[in-house]
Structure formats: structure tokens, C-alpha cells
């Protein structure tokens, strides 16, 4: 655990607006990704992200400074997202929500799945922008190497070599997932 996390959490618990902003800048996109994974809706994910940070602030005094801040926030984000989903379901009517959004009506992702989303998102965010773009175009957009080459205006061979380099870096960044990861969130956050 980085000592910076402990200091950040202490400042966060004190409610200093600058530290709240700093925690958001470090972890906001990851918290949003977790919320989006649970809810599948950008508006609800925004609400869940806001609620997660408020809940984290309320329970920051219980944060164990020997642990990493990220997995602790991921656990809170998952719970906040589930709360938002339930709240949304109550407000809008259970039956109509299930009919309109069957994804939300299924069981929420497990803590382990959330941890994987968190770690993969973090790894992708740490790639150089051109490599992240290649990974996105290939896996999310679903383009072949040839299509990526056409879109980016570079030779297919260049796409292949850059793509391999990006994935090599990604595999290295995610090696700890194969080993079962020391930071896996096996505990529930307080508050």
C-alpha cells in the first residue's frame, strides 16, 4: 500500500475540498467504471459515483491505512451502485424496470468481477494513448487489424506490431490477476 494513499485518505476524511478533488482525480474514472459495470446506464452511474464518494467520505475514518485505497473505493462503489439500482427500481416500479432494462434486473457483478473491471480499467488507463486506442478499436469497436490500419492510415504490419506491444504491456500490468492478486477486495467497507 502506498503511504500516499494513507495520507490522501486522512485528508479525505478531514473533508478538505482539495483532497476530495484529489481522490476523485485519482479514482473517479475507476469508480465510475465500476458503477457503470453494475448499472449499465451513464446517468445512474453518475449518481452512483457521487453517492460512492459521499459514502466513502462518511466512512473514511474507518479506512485501514495499511490497505490500498482503490479496492476499498471499489467495494463502496459497487454497493452504492446497487443502492442506486434499488432506489431507481422503487421509484420507477419494479415490473416496468425489468421489462425495459433486463440487464439491471439480473444479479449485480460479484466483488471479484468488480475487482477485475477495476484492475483492467486501471491497466488500460495506464497505457500510452495510442496503444489504448488500438486496444479499444480492436476489442470494443470490434475492428480487425486491416480495418484499424485503414482507419488510422498506417500499414497493417505497423498495426500488428503496435497491437502486440500494447497487449504485451497489458499482460504485464495484469499479471497479478493470474496470481490471485493481493489487492482483491475480500472485505466489505465500513459505513
Amino acid at each position: 500500500m502506498a503511504s500516499g494513499d494513507a495520507q490522501l485518505a486522512a485528508d479525505f476524511a478531514a473533508g478538505d475540498p482539495d483532497s476530495v478533488r484529489a481522490v476523485y482525480e485519482s479514482y473517479g474514472r475507476l469508480v465510475y467504471a465500476v458503477a457503470y459495470k453494475v448499472l449499465g446506464d451513464s446517468g445512474l452511474a453518475e449518481d452512483a459515483t457521487q453517492q460512492a464518494f459521499v459514502q466513502a467520505w462518511r466512512s473514511a475514518h474507518r479506512f485501514d491505512p495499511t490497505q490500498a485505497l482503490g479496492p476499498w473505493l471499489a467495494t463502496i462503489a459497487r454497493r452504492a451502485a446497487i443502492d442506486i439500482y434499488r432506489q431507481s427500481r422503487r421509484n420507477r416500479g419494479h415490473a416496468s424496470l425489468e421489462a425495459a432494462e433486463p440487464l439491471l434486473a439480473s444479479a449485480p457483478p460479484s466483488a471479484e468481477q468488480i475487482y477485475e473491471v477495476w484492475e483492467v480499467r486501471r491497466a488500460v488507463d495506464s497505457l500510452p494513448p495510442d496503444e489504448a486506442q488500438l486496444v479499444r478499436l480492436q476489442h470494443f469497436t470490434g475492428l480487425t487489424h486491416s480495418q484499424i490500419a485503414t482507419r488510422l492510415g498506417v500499414p497493417v504490419g505497423t498495426v500488428k506490431s503496435r497491437t502486440h506491444r500494447a497487449h504485451r504491456r497489458l499482460v504485464g500490468l495484469l499479471d497479478h490477476l493470474r496470481a490471485g492478486g493481493p489487492g482483491a477486495p475480500s472485505r466489505e467497507a465500513g459505513g
Binding site: 475540498p17 478533488r21 473517479g28 446517468g43 449518481d47 457521487q50 420507477r92 480499467r121
Partner: protein, 221 residues
């Protein structure tokens, strides 16, 4: 299996690309899971730029009033005034819920919005501004942009209010500089349709000073 082989498997864009590499079944399963994650929208979803400020404002509001969560209501208010506020807020929530059930089609991803153009008064004739009120699960987020208001410090400040047609006044936050402010309201601008900003002084009482510098009427956006 080496990292290069794993990278080659992930980077391959058709089945033929995988054939040269002999992969243990467990590794293939893990890499296929990773492929699935990389194709997941959650991996690439980006929060809106303003969400950070919204989070900071929500934590600030929760700090001001930790018992009830993000709310703009000040902790220190006269009891009678607070009762009025709570009753008004409860009435607003009931009305909002009733309207929600009646219309029943709005979603959180397309939030309800109100807006107002703010006009100056003779107290600050060069001032101008606009305000947008967006519904969220925490309350109404109010984005205020005001020009021509001199900064107030050292015990002097501005306070924003929402007022209903029958004159019930609800405070929605205080600030020093009006150029880019986020405020929060627990009452709906559908019922509290007049938005005002007053000059206030610490120690001069909790009610509105009546020194209105900007005012406008909220309309559905």
C-alpha cells in the same frame, strides 16, 4: 506460456492467428475472460467532465449536514424556519413523486431540468447571470454563473434562495464569488419558482437580508 504468447493470443484478430501458439486451457479461459472485459462498455465509459465538481459539492454538502446527506440546507437555522423548510420539502417531494407516477416516463439518464436568466436589481445594476437546475437522486444540482458581482469576504457573503408562490423561502447555499458556483436544493424549482441572490453578513441573522442583487423565475428547460 510466456507473456509474449499471451499477448499474441490477445492481439490476434482472427482464429488463424491463435493456431501457432499452444495454449493451456486455463490460460485460454483467462485470456478469453480478459477479451470479454476489454469489449465491455464499462471499461471505456468516461464520466462527464463536470462530475468531479459535483462530487466535491456533494461531499461539502454532506459535511455541512452529515445527518441527512448532501443537502444545501444550513446546519444552523431557527427551529420554526427549519420546520417550514422541512414541511415545504416534504410537500415538494410528495408532489414530485405524484407527478412522477402520473407521467411515469422520465429516466435518470435524461434528468429533469429547469433554468432561469437572472436580472440585476438597483443594488447591483451591472450584475447578470443564469442558473440551471438539474434533478438527481441527491436533490437538485444548481449551476450558477453570475457576472458583475464583486467578491464578498471577511464575514460578507452571498446567499442563494428559492421562493414559492406563497412566499416560503428556502436557502440553497452561500458563496463568495458567483462566477462558477454549484449549489444544491432539496425543494423542486417547479414549486419554488423564484431564484434570488442576496447580500448577507455573518452575525446579522439567518434570514434573508432582503438585499436582492439578482433574481429570476425558473422555467422547465
Amino acid at each position: 506460456m510466456t507473456d509474449d504468447q499471451r499477448a499474441a493470443y490477445l492481439a490476434g484478430d482472427d482464429a488463424a492467428a491463435h493456431e501457432p501458439v499452444a495454449l493451456p486451457a486455463s490460460d485460454v479461459a483467462a485470456l478469453d475472460d480478459l477479451r470479454g472485459l476489454l469489449a465491455d462498455h464499462a471499461l471505456w465509459a468516461e464520466p462527464p467532465a463536470e462530475l468531479g465538481e459535483r462530487v466535491v459539492a456533494a461531499v461539502a454538502a454532506a459535511r455541512e449536514n452529515p445527518a441527512t446527506g448532501p443537502t444545501p440546507l444550513h446546519a444552523v437555522r431557527r427551529a420554526s424556519h427549519r420546520r417550514w423548510i422541512m414541511l415545504s420539502a416534504a410537500a415538494a417531494v410528495i408532489i414530485a413523486l405524484a407527478l412522477g407516477v402520473f407521467f411515469g416516463t422520465r429516466t435518470t439518464s435524461n434528468p429533469e431540468k429547469f433554468a432561469a436568466t437572472l436580472a440585476a436589481t438597483e443594488l447591483q445594476p451591472n450584475a447578470s447571470g443564469d442558473v440551471t437546475l438539474t434533478k438527481s437522486t441527491s436533490g437538485w444540482r444548481i449551476e450558477l454563473h453570475a457576472d458583475g458581482l464583486p467578491r464578498r469576504d471577511n464575514g460578507r457573503y452571498y446567499e442563494a434562495w428559492l421562493k414559492s408562490a406563497d412566499g416560503v423561502l428556502v436557502p440553497v447555499g452561500t458563496f463568495n464569488d458567483g462566477r462558477d458556483v454549484t449549489l444544491w436544493s432539496a425543494v423542486s424549482p417547479a414549486d419554488f419558482t423564484t431564484f434570488t441572490i442576496t447580500r448577507q453578513v455573518v452575525g446579522a441573522g439567518e434570514d434573508s437580508s432582503g438585499q436582492v442583487v439578482l433574481a429570476g423565475t425558473t422555467k422547465r428547460a
